[in-house]
């Protein structure tokens, strides 16, 4: 009896203290570090993650016990890779395994630095991102911070994306982000979003003493990418940050003031930026889902699998967005409906309907007249916007032609044909009557029978 009571109390306690993960995919995070002590450098950053109910597991990439998968399933939901210097990654966390991890829906935050190893460059190349050579840094002789040590590598990021699916408004408009690290060049794949980039006067080069810039740098100006984000087709997110220092306590607390500028901030934008970036990367924001989809004929409510050509139908879809730790109505206004049979026959923007604040999804609606073509159609909502997870919702319906009795009747344009058909009938009756009573035709009969 006592034992039972104990179990009951235990279950109750677990029920009470079980925390809902803030992320829509899970809260298990693997943190890879160059050496164990590095943990202290980013204590504020890691604490903020733990406050958001993530379970952090710290490992070295050279540790043979580290494994991204257990029995073929992901053992972690997210990976923070702050081990740019490490060269000898164990097989279980090498670029191929990390790629598999992304393919299985895991999210990765990759921090790089000027000492970035070839292993992580290989990984980045898989995502069409090319980090500059080892020992190079982003240099800007006009936008460096006043606390710079003379090499002009501690810069204030100039360009920041205005995509509010990724960053909140106060980060976009807030104090600039402090950055010291390596530049990268982004390719052309449309899955990539540029998040943070350098100013027009920046370039990427080695920073040895008396360095001569005698070769064309890999990237210059605002092509110098500092932070880029990629959302794979399976909605897994990978974020590349050229500077692990961006997440360090020192940068979080550092005041920021650009040289030759009177504007100064007591605290850099790094902390809020890092928070938004991890929120996005770990699927805490910009996550969309379809909660319901319905189509029916006008003045009816039943969803059919078979419609007639030129039928007037109503298509509705409900889309929900995860933001601020709960599902809420999505605010997009550019969601489109398509009726496709090899090609889209109809493409129409759905009208967002007003919602009340307690509703968790917004209804999008369109009145559609089906095309004058019969066949098997796919009704599709294919919504892909950078920063938001992709929506691809499709339902297959058949569209049939008019039945023989559904054609319009007694229209004046058809009268010649009515007359034609009627004349055929009259002609047939007349001919039959004449034939029937004709002596000559009966004569043939006689002739033939005789």
């Amino acid at each position: 009896m006592r034992c039972l009571l104990f179990i009951f109390a235990f279950v109750l306690a677990v029920g009470v203290f079980r925390v809902e993960p803030r992320s829509t995919t899970g809260n298990r995070v693997l943190v890879l570090l160059d050496k164990e002590d590095d943990k202290a450098l980013y204590s504020k950053f890691f604490n903020s993650l733990e406050e958001r109910e993530y379970q952090l597991t710290y490992k070295l990439p050279t540790d043979s016990t580290v494994d991204l998968f257990s029995y073929g399933e992901r053992a972690y939901d997210h990976v923070i890779n702050f081990a740019p210097k490490t060269k000898n990654y164990k097989d279980k966390v090498n670029p191929l395994s990390l790629l598999n991890f992304v393919n299985k829906g895991g999210n990765i935050l990759l921090g790089a630095s000027s000492e970035l190893s070839e292993t992580m460059r290989d990984f980045a190349r898989e995502f069409d991102i090319d980090f500059d050579d080892i020992d190079t840094s982003v240099i800007d002789h006009f936008n460096y911070d006043i606390s710079d040590d003379g090499k002009h590598t501690l810069i204030n990021a100039k360009g920041i994306t205005n995509n509010e699916a990724i960053l909140t408004k106060n980060v976009i408009e807030g104090p600039p982000v402090l950055f010291r690290g390596i530049a990268h060049k982004v390719g052309t794949i449309p899955l990539l979003t540029k998040v943070l980039w350098a100013g027009e006067t920046a370039y990427s080069y080695e920073t040895k003493a008396d360095q001569q810039v005698d070769q064309e740098p890999l990237v210059v100006g605002n092509k110098v990418m500092l932070v880029s984000a990629l959302q794979a087709r399976n909605n897994a997110r990978v974020t590349f940050v050229g500077s692990t220092e961006l997440f360090s306590d020192r940068f979080f607390d550092s005041p920021i003031q650009r040289t030759n500028s009177a504007e100064s901030f007591p605290k850099s934008g790094n902390e809020d930026f890092a928070k938004d970036l991890t929120k996005w990367t770990f699927q805490e924001k910009g996550v969309l889902k379809v909660t319901s989809r319905h189509h029916h004929k006008e003045n009816e409510t039943e969803e059919l699998e078979l419609y007639r050509i030129k039928d007037n139908i109503i298509y509705t879809i409900e889309i929900s967005e995860y933001a601020n730790d709960h599902w809420q109505a999505f605010n997009g206004t550019d969601v489109q409906f398509e009726a496709i049979m090899l090609d889209p026959y109809i493409r129409k923007t759905l009208t967002p309907l007003p919602t009340s604040p307690e509703q968790q999804a917004r209804k999008y609606k369109a009145h559609i007249q089906l095309p004058d073509v019969y066949g098997v159609f796919t009704f599709k909502v294919n919504y892909k916007r950078s920063g938001y997870s992709y929506i691809e919702d499709s339902s297959v319906v058949a569209i049939r032609p008019f039945r023989h009795n559904e054609y319009p009747r007694y229209i004046s344009a058809a009268y010649p044909y009515y007359t034609g058909a009627a004349s055929m009938i009259v002609g047939f009756l007349l001919f039959s009557a004449i034939w029937f009573f004709n002596k000559e035709s009966s004569k043939i009969v006689k002739k033939k029978t005789s």
Binding site: F402, H404, P408, R409, A414, F428, I444
Partner: protein, 113 residues
């Protein structure tokens, strides 16, 4: 030249009216009527457009069908072809003609809208 053509036509016509049984001439008249009706509908459709397409199809197919059935009746009742249709008497040919026409017009009326 035109003299020859006209005399040839003259000859054809006299031979036709002399040697063709009156019943077959009756069928021929019927066929000409159908032909003109069909041609008229087709030309009308080309000029005006295909709008009630089902009505056009029904009307036109009714003329084509009638023509085919009448032509078959002519072949089967022609005394010259008697050798080929030993098992089919002209009565039977006529009965089949009537039956097929009823079926044809049933579908035409159904489809014409």
């Amino acid at each position: 030249m035109s003299d020859k053509v006209s005399s040839a036509i003259q000859k054809l016509w006299t031979s036709y009216s002399k040697n063709t049984p009156q019943s077959l001439q009756l069928i021929d008249t019927y066929l000409v009527f159908i032909l003109f009706s069909g041609v008229f509908q087709f030309v009308h459709c080309v000029l005006v457009g295909t709008f009630p397409y089902n009505a056009f199809l029904a009307g036109f197919i009714s003329t084509v069908g009638s023509f085919v059935l009448a032509a078959n009746l002519r072949i089967q009742t022609n005394p010259d072809n008697a050798g080929e249709f030993k098992s089919i008497s002209p009565e039977r040919a006529f009965a089949e003609f009537v039956f097929c026409n009823i079926v044809l017009h049933f579908f035409v009326v159904n489809f014409i809208g």
